[in-house]
Symmetry: C2
Subunit: 332 residues, 2 copies
């Protein structure tokens, strides 16, 4: 059974998940040839995955005969499992507990497409719709305090299967990164009386130095303190704390912004591997004026090295102003 | 000029260092063939580097005619520079300042050896001696509050040149990772009245479940909450806060422990890329009973993925008990 372990010195949680060592290793995953008979995520191979928890209908599916457009299934090699002893164990200075949670895979389409940016806006909107439906569903279980939705594209970004997919993790605690953001936003609001992300949006729109693109609902920009070369954030212009509380018509605009951002990234930096993740408000906190959900995209243009690991600082050799300029001007 | 930028929401510092984009890209660095006429770190090519700040004599140097065993030179593509405006800039919600600091390269030997584990104990002791001498020297400048010593071996670990080298960064602030450790250790001491690292050492020696090896002065173990598969820590058995305050005779024992740890790692996991870094007490704090310097080794057996980036949690599929068992039993 997977377990959470806490470092005895710092606030650092680790999930020790032995079962994940059994995952298929596809090297390199992103360039893997499509062999539909072997890929567990391709249409026709539905029996190779656990039974789905959500299936979106496939009227507009690009594969003839496919009856679905997006499937969400339990992760076959979960880092978290729903059932198990909830009692923490304290063994001297070492603290651990059963890694309770939900770990799901969002299969992004019936055909073997490795790059999400190659999908249409409608297809991407369907994926985002699945994210929102799962977050709404998981919110119903009072054990979970946070839902993290993330995507790994390419081997260097941690993907082990090339068929486009994202992942969803429901966790019994708010993870460190989200907690720090949440607290930071709360502190800013206490001092300034405004949402820090709303201020960032206003500032970025005024200066225009780091804007990649925008539409009616979203801005796409390279953040001021970009950790890595080509880092991109997508923020809703209208203040909202929870990704799953927005009106669903936003998802079309988000799909447009996400697709354009990823196409610009692919074109500008030779289809790099990347991760993206949604940062939304902790589940058990109500809609509020200080936290603002958003999506962060981290391309893998450089390796994370000893300096970053050892310090928690980041060293980035591409200024976000320059990255935004490149991304804005590339022809897609 | 490189600059520090602070994220407006969380306590996250980034160094925007444009000059580093000009570094030589050797792909893949670790397997790069030795061409001594091109390598700026090989004996005979001393003029290809900036003038050294430290040269250790080469009586026992393995290259005929080489007059040095270790050279420390300023980094040709520094992320930090010593001279520049120290005044912080606040531009609305964005805070930045000149990235003041020192960034040096430790060239680990005159001949083109890519893997530090291939060096002798005496040679590794010389490298550690250079680390200590530079830390002692940099301590003399009251602008620096922390010295981070780290090594990237292999492309996936961020190395851009294959000739064995480490790096030294003197910083005007204590980095987040070190600050969190320092505060965590202080809190543990306030409650338990003991050093948390001393307690870890005692506990590990008693249980023996995660010990890889030990000698009179050091233990080598896989930490209880290992972030990545095969993570290894080396801790001095005798309590000491500052790496550079110990008696220098320790360095022979540390060289023995480090060499054995890296040889076991290479043998066990097929010569993986890795990072290691020294965590020592912040410079301006005196020797104290709660902080305990140590060295952390993070092999690159898996890619850091969206889950880790998005949450600050780590997902590790190799339990440290199993990693220690493999490392202990491998024949070197």
């Amino acid at each position: 059974m997977p377990e959470f372990r806490k470092d005895p010195v710092v606030e650092r949680w680790v999930i020790i998940a032995r079962a994940r060592a059994k995952r298929p290793q596809s090297q390199p995953a992103r360039r893997q040839t499509a062999d539909a008979s072997l890929c567990p995520f391709c249409a026709g191979n539905e029996s190779m995955t656990p039974a789905p928890v959500l299936v979106l209908a496939g009227n507009d599916a690009p594969v003839a005969g496919a009856i679905w457009s997006v499937r969400v299934v339990p992760n076959k090699y979960p880092a978290l499992t729903e059932h198990g002893d909830a009692v923490p164990r304290q063994d001297g200075l070492y603290q651990s507990k059963h890694a309770a949670g939900v770990h799901e895979v969002v299969i992004e389409g019936p055909s073997h497409v490795s790059e999400i940016a190659a999908l249409s806006e409608i297809e991407i909107e369907q994926i985002l719709h699945a994210y929102r439906l799962r977050m709404l569903y998981l919110r119903g279980d009072s054990r979970w305090r946070y839902v993290l939705i993330y995507k790994n594209q390419g081997t260097e970004a941690g993907a082990t299967l090339s068929h486009g997919h994202s992942q969803i993790a429901a966790l019994p605690m708010v993870p460190k990164e989200s907690l720090e953001e949440f607290e930071g936003a709360k502190n800013y609001y206490a001092t300034a009386g405004r949402c820090v992300y709303c201020d960032i949006i206003q500032r970025e729109l005024e200066s225009n130095a780091r804007i990649v693109t925008e539409n009616d609902r979203f801005i796409v920009c390279c953040p001021f303190a970009s950790r890595v070369a080509g880092e991109i954030w997508i923020l809703p212009k209208l203040h909202s704390s929870h990704f799953d509380s927005g009106v669903s018509s936003d998802l079309g605009a988000l799909a447009q912004a996400l697709r354009e951002a990823l196409r610009r990234l692919a074109r500008c930096f030779h289809e790099p591997a990347f991760n993206y993740f949604l940062h939304s408000n902790p589940l058990r906190e109500p809609e509020n004026p200080y936290y603002h959900w958003h999506l962060e995209i981290l391309p893998k243009l450089q390796y994370f090295a000893g300096f970053e690991w050892g310090s928690g600082f980041y060293m980035n050799s591409l200024a976000p102003e320059e990255a935004a300029r490149l991304l804005r001007h590339v022809v897609i």
